[in-house]
Amino acid sequence: MSWLRIKTIFKREFAAYFNSPIAYIFIGVFLVVTMWLFFQGFFLNGQATMRSYLSLLPWIFLFLTPAITMRLWSEEKRSGTIEILLTLPVKDEEVVLGKFLSSLAFLLVNLFLSLTLPITIAILGSLDLGPVIGGYIGAIFLGAAYLALGSYISALTKNQIVAFLMAIVASFIFFIIGSNMVIESVSPWLAGIFAHLGLGAHFSNIAKGVIDSRDIIYYLTFIAFFLILNVRALAGRQWK
């Protein structure tokens, strides 16, 4: 692995977000939607808390992260640039990692801009910082997991819209299988697996401010798993 090549891929991909108006629209939509959902409840409750906001974040991510990853590979496949990219002296792993990191960086830009929210609240009242920090860390891990999944799905199709919709469905499945509703309705041994696999349960742990190494390891494993699948999907062109 060469960090120089990963960095080169990363920079190109990151710039690609901002080379089109989509990035700005995306950031705008993200901020408007999150702010609106937040302030809707904020003035009703009159409490300086971000709990409702943080519990909404996974649902917003469900639609936003697929929009970040949908073009990562499908656009390369549609336009044929994948043939240029993968015949350059660069390893598939390096390209996968560079692209994934660029999508993560773009998500971080969004989260960074949304920090205006806790800052505003902190000014208006006394804000308990623990859950906010935990919530943001949880959001980064959850978002990264969605992005790895979405990136893999994007490598399976030439069509951005298909990649977008499939990623929503897949993310949704992974998010809800850990929820109480699903767990209570399946057989106990399946419930045990689901409880571990569900993205949502691990998020709510971290969002409460409880950072458990098991949750972190879970997210890192999830991300690694889908990045490896992503590399495998590219290797599919080498099938005999």
Binding site: S2, T8, N19, E83, T87
Partner: protein
Amino acid sequence: MIKIENLKKYYGHIKAVDDISLEIKEGEILGLLGPNGAGKTTTVKMITGFIAPTSGSVKFNDLDILEDSLQIRAKLGYLPENNPLYEDMKVYEYLLFVGKIRGLSKEVLIGRLKEMVQVAGLRKVLKQPISELSKGYRQRVGLAQALLHDPEILILDEPTSGLDPNQIVEIRELIKKVGQHKTIILCSHIMQEVQATCDRVVIINEGKIVGQGTPQELTEAATGGDVMYAKIKGNEEAIISSIRELANVKDVSIADKESEDIRGYRIDLNQNSDIREELFQLAIKNNWSILESKKEAASLEDVFRNLTKK
């Protein structure tokens, strides 16, 4: 330099490439000629390592495309079919990106970039987004990308498709210019292109090699002789029968009819024979008028049609 052995690529039951063996010498410009869908592009994709063959091997000296893919890719410059480009980038951004991935140091990269700007004539468009370029400029950017690292081997898949005649001439000249010191594989379905640029031609049809040699060898092998065209005023039957009796004439047929007593004749001759003088004498003797006469070069086009239209 490049050795391709028993290369096959099957997609299910479809044999895209069916047992192709080839050797390409250093410094050679090899043309892969064939109708659309013959398997040229699939062959090239296997040579670049983009897809793996069902069986067979591609070797660059002692490097194998499956084992040493990265080392081989570093030596290759590749212009894929339809010249895909990152539309959202500016021309210089794109070339810098490719150069950095290829691991060129900053000084080398800047030097090479300047050279590419000159060779491919990109000065005017360097700061333009690729999406706004004309087809001719896009093609030049694609070529600059392939040439940026001064590769030993250049692989070009249909480099002039979709260009206007002036641009085609420009691109061909560019290929010839850079081809003096490189090994080149050029895919095309256009005969004139291959005839104009290549040292050796391999004709592919339905995944198989159906003919190969220099452009001259191929044309001679296909017609087995020379062809002459003459437009003569006089009695048709008498003309045909008396020309047939001349030495070296294999056959005479009517090519076109201009008027009642003027006909164009196609005369098939033995190889390297010339009957212009005898024909002239014959005409004087019989009181015919020769209005036109020319030696017709059998073109690669005929060969191509003969070999691929079965």
